[in-house]
């Protein structure tokens, strides 16, 4: 997808050696880093040498990525900065960027290198280095080397869009007379599933993010929607109404066999998403009279309701550390984060606006959500640890239903 040049042997060897020397520490669930807003680690790039437009792009994007990560801030001076990046990012003839850097902090160091062609790849070098720093220094997955899929609402119609984590490389790849719905990445980010009315009925299609033909996954008569891929990539949770009522199913992507999970004659299901271990699915059901968040075991099919407050609770997203984010109608629409085991819940969206459609970032800290601005929506990154929301940098438009991919290599 990224059309990368092969890394040089030297860079690859350096990278491999560094990876072997400093194993990535495990991500601890429910770790809360105190004082994120004031406790960011200063990073100095003062001794990083660059050349050419690509070198400048690399450094600018790296600074923005480190800032957006929530863990770091760019130091104004290298003195007193706990983390220092040295080395060089050099444009070599044509449009090649060769990067060889050393990242040093109190407690470790690693070397990193990459050689790629083109501006887009220079940006992705920065994304990958930022994420490597987050992994090595903070023991967390990064959010820079990721992509975002969402819906562009255009009058009565709409389109599916994809962009990089910082809003760059915006692509619109499916414009339809009735707006398509709910794009959802596969775990490796290589493909998305979404709901399209292009055949008259809502059907689930899968398509590679690099383009090409799309293929129907579920096109049973009636409703086909909510396609969400399991962590192992083998199953797609979906809502089908074929039995005569909307119900939650799991579809095997290879055999196409559909297994029914819910039996709610007086209720409709919607918006399935998988637990990180792939054993459970969170979804919306209105079998109790109003739409609420439920969790079901995909094997024994036992289900229970987790949302307690709010007249409506919809659009769940199950985060990598086990917490579930969802949209809760409590006066306005708020984004709530809940630990399904303890029931502990908190509101993470600012007051005064309607916030919908949360999607966890792979760091288990940030959440992408849509904010209503009058008749349209914009996309924002919320921080569960208290940093100010950041608007995703996109052209003017009506952007909805974001899905944040996992880390992309």
């Amino acid at each position: 997808m990224l059309g990368r040049l092969a890394k040089t042997a030297i860079a690859a060897a350096l990278f491999a050696a560094a990876m072997a020397a400093l194993p990535v520490s495990a991500v601890t669930p429910f770790t809360v880093t105190k004082g994120a807003g004031s406790g960011k680690d200063p990073v100095s790039l003062a001794s990083l040498q660059t050349s050419g437009a690509l070198g400048a792009t690399f450094v600018n994007v790296l600074k923005q990525d480190l800032d957006r990560s929530g863990w770091f801030e760019i130091a104004t001076s290298k003195y007193g900065a706990g983390i220092e990046i040295t080395g060089q990012a050099v444009q070599q003839g044509g449009d090649t960027l060769a990067t060889r850097v050393r990242v040093r902090w109190n407690g470790g160091a690693f070397e990193w290198g990459d050689t790629t062609a083109g501006t887009r790849e220079a940006r992705w070098q920065a994304h990958r280095l930022a994420d490597e720093m987050t992994r090595r220094i903070k023991g967390r997955n990064g959010i820079a080397a990721t992509r975002i899929a969402f819906v562009s609402k255009e009058g009565r119609g709409g389109a599916i869009c994809i962009c990089d984590s910082d809003g760059a490389a915006l692509q619109k790849f499916s414009t339809e007379a009735t707006s398509p719905l709910s794009p959802s990445f596969t775990p490796d980010g290589s493909k998305i599933y979404y709901t399209s009315f292009s055949r008259g009925y809502p059907c689930i299609f899968g398509v590679s993010t690099s383009g090409g033909k799309r293929a129907p996954l579920a096109n049973f008569t009636g409703l086909n929607t909510g396609g969400a891929v399991s962590p192992d990539g083998k199953l797609v949770a979906a809502i089908l109404s074929h039995p005569g009522n909307p119900e939650l199913f799991v579809i095997n992507t290879v055999t196409r066999k559909a297994t029914r999970l819910t039996y709610t004659k007086r209720g409709a299901e919607a918006s399935p998403c998988w637990s990180p271990d792939g054993n459970q699915i969170a979804y919306v059901s209105d079998e109790g009279g109003t739409p609420q968040i439920y969790v079901i075991d995909s094997q024994n099919k036992n289900s229970y309701r987790i949302s307690r407050n709010g007249s409506q609770n919809v659009a769940p997203s199950w985060g990598p550390d086990g917490r579930i984010a969802y949209c809760s109608k409590q006066g306005s629409y708020r984004i709530v984060v809940q630990n399904p085991r303890t029931g502990e819940a908190k509101i993470v969206s600012p007051e005064g606006s309607d916030w919908e459609d949360p999607s966890w970032a792979p760091d288990g800290r940030h959440i992408l959500a849509s904010r209503r601005d009058g008749r349209s929506f914009s996309l924002w990154v919320l921080d569960t640890e208290g940093d100010t929301p950041v608007k995703l940098s996109l052209p003017n438009g009506d952007w909805r239903s974001p899905d944040w991919s996992g880390s992309i290599r």
């Binding site: 790849f173 292009s198 049973f220 029914r260 919607a270 919809v314 239903s401």
Partner: protein, 179 residues
């Protein structure tokens, strides 16, 4: 939830073959040019012995033409509800009468929602509304296999704009007859 019912086999019964008809343009949506070639898209069919109300067969509009000689006004619903209001039932009886009068006709009920709340939940709610109408007609003695549902959620409002009146007119079930 009754766990004994969970063992009911949900079987892929038939894959309707459209290969002979090839890739046809339908409903004008693809005319918007989404850039995709779906190839021969065959509709899958599931059945479920439990309800007897399973949707089966191909979507009616694949091989039929709209019956423009008959029409029924839309059924309107309450906020976040798929209950049929008592004052709307006469319209549904009218639709049942048409199906009785024209035994070769079939019906697609299109379920719609107002713009508030989750698009995804609204898609399910719209389907629930369409199926509530279908079930009612089935209860009047019409073969449910002559009736299919189709939800557009909040994606195809009858009235653009916000406010109680627009929302009321958008929470609806529309009747599309085919011959």
């Amino acid at each position: 939830m009754n766990t004994t019912t969970l063992k009911i086999a949900v079987t892929l019964v038939a894959v309707a073959t459209l290969a002979t008809t090839g890739c046809r343009s339908r409903k004008g949506n693809n005319a918007a040019g989404n850039g995709y070639d779906d190839g021969d898209m065959t509709f899958q069919t599931l059945t479920d012995d439990e309800t007897g109300l399973a949707l089966t067969g191909e979507p009616f509009d694949l091989n039929r033409t709209p019956a423009t000689d008959v029409a029924v006004q839309p059924v309107y619903f309450g906020y976040d509800s798929f209950q049929l209001p008592a004052e709307e039932v006469a319209k549904i009886q009218q639709a049942a009468d048409i199906l009785r009068q024209y035994p070769s006709y079939v019906l697609i009920i299109e379920g719609h929602c107002d713009e508030r709340g989750s698009n995804e939940y609204n898609l399910s709610l719209g389907e629930q509304r369409a199926l509530a109408v279908r079930n009612y007609i089935g209860g009047l003695g019409i073969d449910p296999q002559r009736i299919q549902s189709r939800s557009f959620g909040e994606e195809r409002p009858a009235v653009m704009g916000s406010g109680e009146e627009a929302w009321r007119l958008n929470r609806r079930g529309e009747f599309a007859f085919y011959r």
